[in-house]
């Protein structure tokens, strides 16, 4: 992707004006309209919530090391796992890649100066922060014990915890992602640089386009569902509680109508990161570009039609269950297409063994397990046994942590030089990626076995025979935690002491690598003119 030579030269003469040194002081950050600064604000805020959610996860794993409930009361335990889920899903996973790396890169990748609505972008961060404060008040003020799923009528009538406050927090966090999604869709449609056709867009942009569609179309449904929940709890409207004339299963339909597509909000962006990193690691055009691009859109569309697979044993109609089951099996196909195409990209590539490569390989391994175990759960005859057991817990952690968090961590390493203008020590990157991979598997693989043995999820106390595997899982979690703490340390170190990053440290393709590290406030000195395909490392051979 061509860009003028001046940019390359400009970066050689330090210190140049970039988005980081263009204005100092709190005000220049809190009132910024620069998508890159907003991305940094998001990185800081979601890191806080990731740490908080991680703390709750550690408490869960500590408690489960023994079958008895000896560390905390059942009431506290229920609040701890609920807050872990609510924080991780609504305040970390959903915004994780789109609001940070996506916010930073989507405008640069399409060759634009900023997102279409810079003020709306800033607003989305403020909405997120207010939602986060509400969530924190809900935690500090006694917590919430419904699980992140808020199932009625427990949440609407029976729970004695801060349900309304927590639901309000999730409701508001939803608006922040609607605003982000809106911004991406408009930007990708209207602000592509000259020559940047749809089929020259990096696959990261395609996956963010698909994600944005889900955010725009799905999130309003969870918003209204949470409003109905709050009305029932606050004023006794009978939507879901049968004693008031409502239907508890209706809540599940509404909840999963958003929350299943939301799972794809929590995986599609990481697939985009993977496509970028696979290409850079192998220095090769992504194999079957169009198929990878369209598989993202296919996942977004099919993802809207499978919510009932969370409800095979809920007493929903058998025939509805069959339809949901078959469409769920079909969603496996676009995911498989992506994996095969990434594999084919590595074929005859030029593969470098750096931190990115470790994350790419780790992601492939974990996503394979996460994706394939979905087949067990989409099988109606088998899901009867597996539903609401640790098998499900293991499965979605392989997708959300093994997928999205691996993608987030990998992406942060890949674009760290671009975002901060500093290099981190690659050896530590590889060590921590390895720790994450090993720790993750030791944490969650035993949970598949526990699940098949029948251990239900959300159990504070459990029968003795499940202890050995639970101890293994808790040990793995401590290794996993180390794998997250180490990058926190050396990445922070690199901001102050790291060597200055070149504009294109990995020799990768894409407009973001043609501007300076860190980029100037308006991303490019001149609007780039795009004259080549995505990932054109050399002449492309058609087959």
């Amino acid at each position: 992707m061509a860009i003028t030579e001046q940019d390359v030269q400009a970066s050689e003469d330090a210190p140049s004006v970039n988005y980081l040194n263009n204005g100092y002081g709190l005000k220049s950050w809190l009132l910024t309209r620069d998508h890159k600064r907003i991305a940094v604000l998001y990185i800081i805020s979601i890191s806080i919530f990731f740490a908080l959610g991680g703390l709750f996860a550690s408490l869960v794993r500590f408690e489960l090391m023994t079958p008895e409930g000896d560390l905390m009361s059942s009431d506290t335990y229920n609040k701890v796992f609920s807050m872990h889920g609510i924080i991780m899903v609504f305040f970390f996973l959903v915004p994780s890649i789109p609001a940070t790396i996506g916010n930073f890169l989507v405008p640069i990748m399409v060759g634009a100066k900023d997102l279409a609505f810079p003020r709306v972008n800033l607003l989305s961060w403020y909405v997120y922060v207010v939602a986060g404060i509400l969530g924190t008040i809900a935690v500090v003020g006694g917590g919430v014990d419904t699980g992140w799923t808020f199932y009625t009528p427990y949440s609407s009538t029976y729970s004695n915890s801060n349900v309304i406050l927590a639901a309000m927090a999730a409701f508001m966090a939803g608006f922040s992602s609607i605003l982000t999604g809106l911004n991406f869709v408009v930007t990708i449609h209207t602000m592509r640089a000259p020559g940047m056709t749809w089929f020259r867009l990096p696959l990261f942009v395609w996956s963010h386009y698909a994600t944005s569609l889900i955010m725009l179309l799905g999130t309003p449904v969870i918003a209204i569902t949470l409003v109905l929940l709050m009305l029932e709890r606050g004023f006794g409207f009978g939507f879901f509680d049968p004693n008031l004339g409502g239907d508890p299963v209706l809540f599940q339909h509404l909840f999963w109508f958003y929350s299943h597509p939301a799972v794809y909000i929590m995986i599609l962006p990481s697939m985009g990161v993977m496509s970028e990193m696979v290409a850079a690691v192998a220095r090769k055009r992504v194999f079957g570009y169009e198929f990878v691009a369209f598989s993202s859109v296919a996942i977004a569309i099919l993802g809207f039609l499978v919510w009932g697979h969370h409800m095979f044993v809920s007493s929903q109609s058998t025939y509805a269950g069959m339809v949901f089951s078959i469409i769920t099996f079909l969603v496996a196909v676009p995911s498989a297409i992506k994996v095969f195409n990434w594999t084919a990209t590595l074929y005859k590539g030029s593969i470098i063994y750096d931190t990115q490569m470790f994350y790419v390989y780790g992601y492939l391994g974990l996503f394979l397990v996460g994706g394939l175990t979905g087949l067990f759960l989409s099988s109606m005859g088998l899901d009867i046994h597996l539903h609401d057991t640790y098998f499900v817990v293991a499965h979605f952690h392989y997708i959300m942590v093994g997928g999205q968090v691996m993608g987030y961590m990998g992406g942060m390493h890949f674009w760290w030089p671009k975002i901060t203008g500093k290099m981190y020590p690659d050896i530590w990157g590889r060590v921590s990626a390895l720790l994450v991979f090993l720790g993750f598997n030791l944490t969650f693989f035993p949970q598949f076995i526990l699940g098949y043995m029948g251990m239900p999820r959300r159990y504070h106390v459990y029968p003795d025979e499940f202890q050995v595997l639970n101890v293994a899982s808790s040990l793995g979690a401590s290794i996993l935690a180390l794998g997250y703490v180490i990058p926190g340390a050396y990445l922070t170190w690199s901001i102050f002491k790291g060597p200055k990053a070149p504009d294109n440290p990995w020799g990768a393709k894409g407009l973001e690598w043609e501007t300076t590290s860190p980029p100037p406030t308006f991303n490019f000195e001149e609007t780039p003119l795009v004259t080549e395909e995505a990932y054109q490392y050399g002449p492309i051979e058609e087959h």
């Binding site: 198929f291 005859g381 609401d388």
Partner: protein, 316 residues
């Protein structure tokens, strides 16, 4: 029954083996694809390691044939698994017609179970070996889920409606009964034990201990206590329909349509009588919502089930 460190659940029901077969079938498929990809990417990493900093490999755009191949193969296999799993599902949710009936009421945080003969249990369920048992379940408060891992059965227990589950135990022993749907503070203590007994032991257990009155007798008492019999006269001359022999029939409704008289219909007719009124009758029955417990309703249903159609001879 359980060792200290088991890795696989007991197989104690007639379909445990079939569910496990599906499990291992899918597992084999998954292991194959996972190994395929893992072996390939590892070989590629070794074979195509970057030799020099300025190395640029050949840029292969793609291959339509390959794309079709690896779209079609997973699609066909996925549909195959779908068919296998769905056929099994229908077997798992369809009880044989001669199944024994038992009743379950879930409440925070205990399981209340009752046998048709009247025996009541809390957090324990005794069932005979080799007999099909069909459970009719409901909840007094929030969602619960009735789960016996050794039988591979689970079904949500939903307030305001009846759900069903059936199994045939094939191995004598005691097995976990779990609540699988989060239901509040003591969720993880809403557990119990299912005891599978030899049929003669089951008979002995059933007749031993304190004798409870059979469910239909208790139901008949309630039927009189709530004065149901003043309108629902057996000879059909009352203001409400006669309930003799009504269970299991499909009846015409006032305002068109039909309804099958099953457990759910009777429950609805007690709690919300005007919802589905039988053709030829007026919606004059008062609601009994809040006056009869879920267990009471189940006993009434057992009584109504026991009412046989009037003998034809008496009509002659």
């Amino acid at each position: 029954m359980q060792t200290d460190f088991p890795l696989f659940p007991d197989q104690a029901s007639s379909f445990a083996f079939q569910v496990d077969a599906l499990y291992f079938g899918i597992l084999a498929l998954c292991v194959f694809f996972a190994l395929l990809v893992v072996i390939l990417v590892v070989i590629f990493a070794i074979k195509y390691q970057r030799k020099s900093d300025d190395e640029v490999p050949r840029q292969i755009a793609g291959h339509l044939g390959l794309e079709i191949f690896w779209t079609a193969i997973p699609a066909v296999l996925a549909l195959g698994v779908f068919v296998w799993a769905t056929v099994l599902y229908f077997h798992l949710i369809t009880p044989p017609p001669n199944a024994m009936e038992m009743y379950v009421v879930g409440k925070q945080w205990m399981w209340k179970l009752q046998h048709p003969e009247g025996k009541k249990e809390i957090n324990e369920l005794h069932v005979p070996l080799g007999e099909s048992v069909r459970l009719t379940m409901t909840s007094e408060d929030v969602l619960h889920s009735f789960y016996i891992p050794a039988f591979r059965v689970k079904k949500d227990v939903v307030p305001g409606r009846y759900t069903n589950l059936w199994f045939k135990a094939t191995q004598v022993g005691s097995y976990h009964l779990f609540c699988a749907e989060f239901c509040g503070t003591e969720h993880s203590r809403m557990i119990g034990t299912v005891h599978v007994l030899e049929p003669q032991d089951y008979e002995a257990w059933l007749t031993g201990g304190t004798a409870n009155e059979p469910m239909e007798v208790a139901g008949e008492r309630l039927f009189e206590q709530y004065a149901c019999h003043t309108c629902h006269k057996m000879d059909g001359t009352g203001r409400g329909p006669s309930l003799s022999g009504l269970f299991g029939k499909t009846v015409a409704l006032e305002g068109g349509g039909t309804a099958l008289v099953d457990e759910a219909y009777i429950r609805e007719s007690i709690l919300n009588p005007s919802a589905k009124v039988m053709a030829g009758y007026k919606p004059i029955m008062p609601t009994f919502k809040g006056q009869i417990s879920e267990e009471g309703i189940i006993q009434l249903i057992a009584y109504i089930k026991s009412l046989k159609a009037p003998e034809l001879t008496s009509m002659e």
